[in-house]
């Protein structure tokens, strides 16, 4: 028996996580029209950064105490890698053929995976991630795990902060201008190189927070964790309308809920018994992506293409 409120909670938690990662894809795409396929690995490095912080602390440190440090080191590591990737891998190729940075992104993704595999202690297998102590919260209509509570706090805080930053601050407005017309943004006196670095940095920071959330959920981090998470978040970004930060979050939530529903209920449909359960969830996610690309290629909140007069 699958309880609908519980399944919905699962889906929303998963979706919020996808959405946080998707912000990184969508912000970078919105400004430099590049799909940063190494973003999944930046997420993974955020997870390892957080784990490292935990391992530095004395044994038996409570998670409430450790969490701020884990988030901090995770965010620092992921942001540094994201900014470094921009500076040394993508910036030299800017203005060149569109295919070059894309190939570089795939290469960088593999290189980062292999670097963690080779150089992080014991990373050849999954490393256990610290877990919350204590049980779930019973809210009556739904039970909420501590891991889910974390993502339900972290994701809205990040999103609201980003939305306020983009809409209200001078730098946020410069960011919007750069994404709408980079050359003209330069004519306003905006240092667009710095705006691009900022987009990579924010994306990296959010990905690290998502990686901590995923570490709590799955109880481990491993060097390949960025691949599927990155693909899902990319799907979420396209689903919501790539280039649109609200779209990334909504796309993530739609994707997460759709996956949770498919896992819980597809097997109950007569004749579909063999497609039920968790092993088919990626298939449903990508079928959703294909449907969106066919029916609404600009995504749910996609931007009109004809608004440049």
């Amino acid at each position: 028996m699958h309880d609908l409120p519980d399944q919905l909670t699962n889906g929303l938690a998963l979706g919020a996580l996808y959405g946080l990662i998707a912000i990184g894809y969508t912000m970078v795409y919105g400004i430099v029209q590049l799909i940063n396929f190494a973003h999944g690995e930046i997420f993974m490095i955020g997870g390892f950064g957080a784990l490292t912080a935990y391992l530095w602390l004395p044994d038996g440190t409570g998670l409430t105490l450790a969490l701020p440090l884990m988030l901090l080191l995770g965010v620092v590591c992921a942001t540094l890698v994201a900014v470094g990737a921009e500076r040394f891998a993508y910036r030299p190729l800017r203005g060149g053929p569109r295919l070059s940075p894309l190939i570089t992104a795939i290469g960088l993704s593999l290189a980062l995976q292999q670097a963690v595999w080779a150089f992080y202690p014991d990373a050849k297998k999954a490393r256990p991630f610290p877990q919350f102590q204590g049980g779930d919260f019973d809210l009556g209509f739904v039970t909420l795990s501590r891991e889910d509570l974390f993502i339900f706090i972290a994701a809205p805080v990040c999103m609201i902060a980003l939305a306020l930053f983009v809409a209200k601050t001078r730098t946020g407005r410069a960011m919007q201008a750069t994404s709408q017309d980079p050359d003209t943004a330069k004519l306003m006196g905006i240092n667009t190189d710095r705006i691009i670095v900022l987009a990579f940095a924010i994306g990296g920071a959010f990905a690290a927070i998502a990686a901590v959330a995923q570490g709590f959920k799955t109880g481990e981090v491993q060097f390949r964790m960025g691949f599927i998470a990155g693909l899902k978040a990319f799907t979420a970004a396209v689903l919501g309308g790539i280039g649109n930060i609200y779209g990334a979050m909504i796309g993530g939530l739609v994707l997460g809920v759709a996956e949770a529903m498919a896992i819980a209920y597809v097997g109950d449909i007569p004749g579909m018994e063999q497609f039920g359960g968790g092993s088919w969830k990626d298939v449903w996610a990508f079928i959703l992506l294909i449907l969106v690309l066919l029916l609404r290629p600009q995504g749910l909140l996609g931007e009109r293409l004809a608004d440049r007069a």
Partner: protein, 237 residues
């Protein structure tokens, strides 16, 4: 020493040279126009002056400083504003946000507010629609916004690229009379236009560009009465 001095400027896109060695100057307080057909290199010249393109050779001096190698976002701070071809307003930002971006580098908040009021007085329609997304404006209104945005940096030199392009005759009249008004107010302007008649009647000096070179220079009046200019650009036989 003129405000802007361009010497032997050459600019290329890959192997194709669009500007093949031009020299001209703009004195403070005057209006100088570059006229010529499509592909003559006028827009390329302006984009190089504002730092969006890198010159192949030549020297650009503005207000006593050499502009070669200075990135675009620093050139506007030196007092050179560029209202680009095709207007290029930020479509999903409001009119007021577009104008605020024109003053992006300015710290003198009170004076910026004053300049904003001045732009609204110059173009009342923008004031009425200040909260509206700029992409919803008509072509003429977008041109006003692009000019207003460039003025918001309080430039020493205002570069206008094809301000009358694609506008109705009435709107073109309005834009040209605004340029005359700015000139009367002492603004130094470098104007690129295909509408040679309108541009020359406003300009103190003009230069005719043909496939990357300046073929003829003179005062606005001289060029307007020049036989070859009349034939080629003013539509007379």
């Amino acid at each position: 020493m003129p405000l802007l001095e361009v010497e032997g400027l050459r600019v290329a896109y890959g192997k194709i040279e669009a500007v093949k060695g031009i020299s001209f100057g703009v004195e403070a307080g005057e209006v100088v126009t570059l006229i010529g057909t499509n592909g003559a290199g006028k827009t390329t010249t302006l984009r190089t002056l504002s730092g969006l393109l890198k010159p192949l050779a030549g020297k650009i001096t503005f207000d006593g400083q050499v502009l070669n190698g200075v990135p675009a976002h620093k050139i506007v701070a030196m007092g050179l504003a560029h209202s680009p071809e095709g207007r290029r307003i930020f479509p999903r930002l409001s009119i007021e946000e577009n104008l605020a971006l024109g003053a992006f580098l300015r710290k003198d908040t009170a004076a910026v507010d004053g300049d904003l009021q001045r732009v609204y007085e110059l173009f009342p329609i923008l004031s009425e629609r200040r909260a509206q997304a700029a992409g919803t404006l008509s072509g003429g209104e977008q041109q006003m916004l692009a000019m207003g945005r460039a003025l918001m940096s309080r430039p020493k030199l205002l570069m206008l690229d094809e301000p009358s392009m694609g506008l109705s005759p009435i709107m073109m009249q309005k834009i040209m009379s605004t340029i005359a008004e700015l000139k009367a107010g002492g603004t130094t302007i470098l104007l690129v236009e295909q509408n040679a008649q309108a541009a020359l009647s406003l300009a103190d000096h003009g230069h005719v560009m043909e496939i990357g070179r300046i073929s003829l220079s003179g005062t606005g009046q001289e060029l307007m009465h020049d036989e070859s200019v009349r034939k080629a650009y003013l539509g007379e036989d």
